[in-house]
């Protein structure tokens, strides 16, 4: 009997905290921002600054692959702002014509420190003896990789088509591949664990941002502001 009572007490203690998590107190407003994985560092900084400038507002950041984020919005996930790594993916969101490009990223070759495969340009990614990772053509970074190969007239010989940029980069950092095609900002975020080589001719992708619900408009404006530009530039993004 006492054991049953204890279990019930434990359950009663847990339930209010669970519901508190999902609703939040009315005094603090929360805005939810869905952002492409490559924005992890820069949006983290921006959200922090935005919260400090607007006491009582909490920015909840959700990072993921652009197509995954778009799918979440379409299935009704609560979100106030969405920022993706490609305009093509954004196009399927309702109201996408209001989206504004806030940054540009460039495709880059990432190699492990010391460049064990002696990779110098995109042409090297066609060498059969090298281990190469790229994104699958179904995701934005894979589509960009395909554009890069065709623009440079190179037949890429990838050994694996990864699900997203971070997976490609992880394989470079673990030295399991000699080269991977990722975004410039990703190599920068990897610090000393990867070395960046330029893709020539450059392949540029646009990053659009869209306010889905009005509470998010302030954050969107902040991303598009001069301060937003500066933070994004520090992370390796080009201005739109």
């Amino acid at each position: 009997m006492t054991r049953r009572a204890a279990a019930l007490a434990a359950l009663l203690a847990v339930v209010p905290t669970l519901t508190a998590c999902s609703t939040g107190s009315p005094a603090s407003r929360q805005i939810t921002v869905l952002a492409a994985s490559s924005l992890t560092e820069s949006f983290g900084t921006l959200a922090h600054e935005y919260e400090r400038a607007h006491p009582g507002v909490r920015v909840r950041l959700v990072f993921g692959g652009s197509s995954t984020l778009v799918r979440q919005v379409q299935s009704g996930a609560p979100a106030d702002v969405i920022a993706t790594a490609s305009t093509a993916t954004m196009r399927t969101v309702q109201g996408a014509d209001r989206a504004k490009v806030f940054a540009r990223n460039r495709l880059a070759i990432a190699v492990p420190p010391g460049n064990p495969g002696q990779v110098h340009s995109l042409a090297d990614l066609g060498r059969a003896e090298l281990r190469v990772a790229v994104c699958a053509p179904q995701v934005p970074c894979g589509a960009a990789a395909a554009r890069a190969f065709s623009a440079a007239h190179v037949t890429g010989r990838p050994d694996t088509y990864e699900q997203d940029v971070k997976a490609v980069l992880a394989k470079v950092e673990l030295r399991e591949v000699d080269a991977g095609l990722v975004y410039r900002t990703d190599v920068q975020a990897a610090g000393s664990r990867a070395v960046r080589l330029a893709v020539d001719p450059p392949v540029v992708t646009d990053y659009p941002i869209l306010t889905l619900h009005s509470p998010g408009s302030g954050f969107t404006a902040f991303v598009l502001s001069a301060r937003g530009r500066a933070v994004l530039a520090a992370a390796g993004f080009d201005p739109p």
Partner: protein, 255 residues
Amino acid sequence: MRRAPAALFVPAAIAAAFLVLPVVGLLIRAPWRGLPRLLGTAEVFDALRLSLATASLATVLSLLLGVPLAWVLARTALPGRWLLRALVTVPLVLPPVVGGVALLLVLGRNGVIGAPLGLSLPFTTAGVVVAEAFVAMPFLVITVEGSLRAADRRYEEAASTLGASRWMVFRRITVPMVRPGIVAGTVLCWSRALGEFGATITFAGSFPGVTRTMPLAVYLALETDPQAAVALSLVLLVVSVLVLAGLRDRWLFPR
């Protein structure tokens, strides 16, 4: 037939509905009319063939190595056996993606074992088999060990006193006695290997015909064409039901 008490029947009904309804939903929402177009491609065939081959190889590997391990855990007085049991079941609780990273760190090109041996398992079909076996083998080991513990050891002792060697006792007495456990473990192991995703994509990567198994193809299809993903899942579902039903008739319950 006895009537089940409501205290058991109601939660049992909820559990059954909870487990069955998502599959029913898959069947209801399946793009039946588009199936031939969605599935009649070489890539789907490649992924399915690869999945069946790698899951079966991983199961054979698990049987060859896992049954002896289960025997050691159940029947020997090895010091620190409890610790060994806890360690070999770690892959059960480890998120498979982490398992994949761990495999890379050990068996990868620059891994602890991979580098000195010159192994090159990642991005190969053999790598898929290794990843699946890593995740699936504990299911077999746990099941077989449970059966070995539950089995009546007096038969083995009687065989020994009658002069049978220890290997003969294992082969002729122990294995036949725990056969239901081995079969159940094999089925669990194969099913888990067939559905394996995280360790495979992390350790072996994803390349059509080489390392892209059905679960990887489903996840990738979800990026662009959710209908295709549902269709692919349906194929995986049908194939696994067919295989398990076939086993049931021929092997699981011979009489």
